[in-house]
C-alpha cells in the first residue's frame, strides 16, 4: 500500500519536474525577488523590509499559481486522457491514487519553495550584508507558506476529482482569495445579525483561513512568533487538509468514470 502511494507520488513529482511551465514560473518569481532589491533601494531604511515583503509575497503567490495549475490537472487530466484506466485496473485503490497525487504535488511544491526561498535569502544577504537572528523568523514564514500550499493542493485535488480543469481552477482560486481575506469576513460576521450571521460564521470555519498563516509583514518587521502559534497553526493546516482530502476520496470513490 505505502509502496503504491509512493510510486504514484514519485510519478506525479516526475511529471511536474518535466513540465516546462514550472520552470517559467520559478524563473519569474526569482526575477521578482531580484527586482525587490532595486525597489528597496528607493528608500534606504526599508530595503530589508521590501525584500522580505515582496520576496515572500512572490513565493506565496507563485506557489499558489503553480499549485492550482498542476493540481487541477491531477485527476481530471488523467480521466480525460484515459491514463487513469490502466492505473485503476491494477490492484490500486482509488484512495491510494488520491493520496499519491497529493503527496506528489506537495513534494513538488516543497522543493519548489525551497528553491525560491534560497533566492529570497540570497537577496536578503545582499541588502543586509549579513543575517541576524530576526531572519530566522523568515524560515517560519516560509514554513507557513508551505502549509498554505498543502491546503491549496488538497483543494485543487478535491475539485479536480469531480469537475473540469477550468472550473476546478476557478473554485480553488476563489477559495484562496476568500481565505486570504478571512479576517475581514470575520469582521463582517460580527456586524451582522441573525441568519446572515450564522451563514457568515459557518463560512469562516468552512473556508481555509489563510490570513492566520500569513505572517509575512510581522516577520518583515522582525517580530517573533510564539511556539504555540506555530504548533497550532500546523495542526490546523494538516487537519483541514485531511478533511478536504477525505471529501475528495469520498467523491472519487463513488464516481463513475465514463
Amino acid at each position: 500500500m505505502a509502496s503504491r502511494i509512493f510510486h504514484i507520488a514519485a510519478n506525479t513529482f516526475r511529471e511536474a519536474v518535466r513540465d516546462r511551465v514550472l520552470y517559467n514560473l520559478i524563473a519569474f518569481a526569482l526575477l521578482l525577488t531580484g527586482a525587490a532589491i532595486f525597489v528597496g533601494q528607493i528608500s534606504i531604511e526599508i530595503e530589508r523590509l521590501v525584500v522580505i515583503n515582496l520576496g515572500l509575497t512572490a513565493v506565496s503567490l507563485f506557489g499558489v499559481v503553480i499549485a492550482i495549475f498542476i493540481g487541477i490537472g491531477l485527476v481530471s487530466k488523467e480521466i480525460e486522457k484515459r491514463t487513469l484506466y490502466t492505473v485503476l485496473s491494477r490492484p490500486v485503490a482509488r484512495w491510494e491514487f488520491i493520496a499519491g497525487k497529493f503527496f506528489g504535488l506537495s513534494g513538488t511544491l516543497v522543493v519548489n519553495t525551497l528553491c525560491m526561498a534560497l533566492g529570497v535569502f540570497a537577496a536578503l544577504l545582499y541588502v543586509s550584508r549579513n543575517l541576524n537572528g530576526a531572519d530566522a523568523w523568515v524560515l517560519v514564514a516560509i514554513y507557513f507558506i508551505v502549509l498554505q500550499f498543502v491546503i491549496v493542493t488538497a483543494l485543487a485535488l478535491l475539485f479536480s476529482s469531480f469537475s473540469s480543469p477550468l472550473l476546478s481552477a476557478v473554485f480553488t482560486f476563489c477559495l484562496f482569495v476568500s481565505g486570504t481575506f478571512a479576517e475581514d469576513l470575520r469582521g463582517f460576521a460580527q456586524l451582522t445579525h441573525g441568519f446572515t450571521r450564522w451563514l457568515a460564521t459557518g463560512a469562516i470555519y468552512a473556508i481555509p483561513n489563510f490570513s492566520a498563516l500569513n505572517v509575512i509583514s510581522q516577520v518583515a518587521h522582525g517580530e517573533p512568533l510564539s511556539g504555540q502559534l506555530i504548533f497550532w497553526n500546523s495542526a490546523y493546516a494538516l487537519v483541514y487538509s485531511l478533511a478536504v482530502l477525505s471529501l475528495a476520496i469520498l467523491i472519487f470513490e463513488r464516481r463513475n468514470l465514463k
Binding site: N53, A93, R94, W95, F181, D184, G187, F188, Q190, L191, Y205, N209, A212, S217, Q218, A220, H221, E223, S226, Q228, L229, W232, N233, A235, Y236, V239, Y240, L242, A243, S246, L247, I249, L250, E253, R254
Partner: protein
Amino acid sequence: MRRRRTTAFATLLFVVSAMGSGLLLHTVDRLRTRATLNQVLYISSPKLLKALSLGYHGLLADVYWTRVVQYYGEQRHTRSSDFSLLWPLLNLTTQLDPHLIPAYQFGGTFLASRPPYGAGLPQRAIELVESGIRNNPDDWHLYYNLGFIYYDLKDFRAAADAFDRGSRVPNAHPFLKIMAAQCAQHGGELRTAQMLWSAVYETTKDKYIRENAEGHLRALKADFEAQELEKIVAAFHQQTGRYPSSFAELARARILPGIPIDPLGNQFQLDREGHVFVGDPDNFPFIERALPSGYLPKPAPGSARPRG
C-alpha cells in the same frame, strides 16, 4: 464490500477532521495577539498600497473602511482606550478612495473625541476633514463636520467660519447659515450646543455617530437641568440665608414637586455650596457642568490618569 468500507471510513474521517479543524482554528484565533499595527495594515504606505492594488483601489478602500468600523467597534467592545490604529486606517482608506465621504465623517467625529470614545487627536481630525474638503469641495457635510470639531475645541470663531464656508456650497442645508450665526454670537451657550447636536442626530445615518450625538444631547439636558436647579437653590439661599440640606427638604417645602431625576434616571445630588451634579458622574459621558466639585474622571483601563 471494499467500496462500502472505504466510503464509510472516508465519511467518518471527513466528519472528524472537519470538526477538528474548526476547533483548531478557534484555538489559533485566541492565540493570535490583537492585531498589531503591521498585521492590520499589512502595507503601511498608502502610495505603495495604491500601486499594488492594480487599479482596484475603490474595492480596497471599501475593505479598509470595513476594517475601520470593525476596529472601532472592537475597541469599544473591549473597553480599551487604545485607538492608535484609527488614524492610519482612515488615512489609508481616504487615500485609496478620496471620495469616500463616510470615512471623513467618521474620522472627523471619532479622531477628535476623547478616549474612551475616540482617539483624542483633534488636529488629525481637522487634517482628515480638510483633505476631504479639498477632494470634495461641494459636499456640505464635510464643512459641517469641520465646524463641529472646532466647536468642541471651543474655538467658536473657527467653527463659525467653517459653517459659513459650508453654507456657500450649492445645495447646502439651510441650518449651516443659522449655525454660523449662532456660533459667532452665542458660542458658549448651551442652546447652541443643543442645536448642533440635534442636527447631527437627525441627519446622520451612521450608528456610532448617532449614538455619540445622543450621548451629547443627554449630557446637555443634564447640564441644563442642573443649571435650572441651581437657580432654584440660589433663590432659596437668598431667601433663607442658607443652602438646603438636600432636595428632599425642597420637596417637603413644596418648592420642588419631588426629588429631581437626571436623564439617566439617577437622583440629582446637591452639595453644601449649592452646586448640583448628576447622581453617577462616572457613567455619564460628556457632562461639562453638572459634575461634583473637584471631580476627576476615572481613568480608563490602561491609560494614564488625565491631569485634572
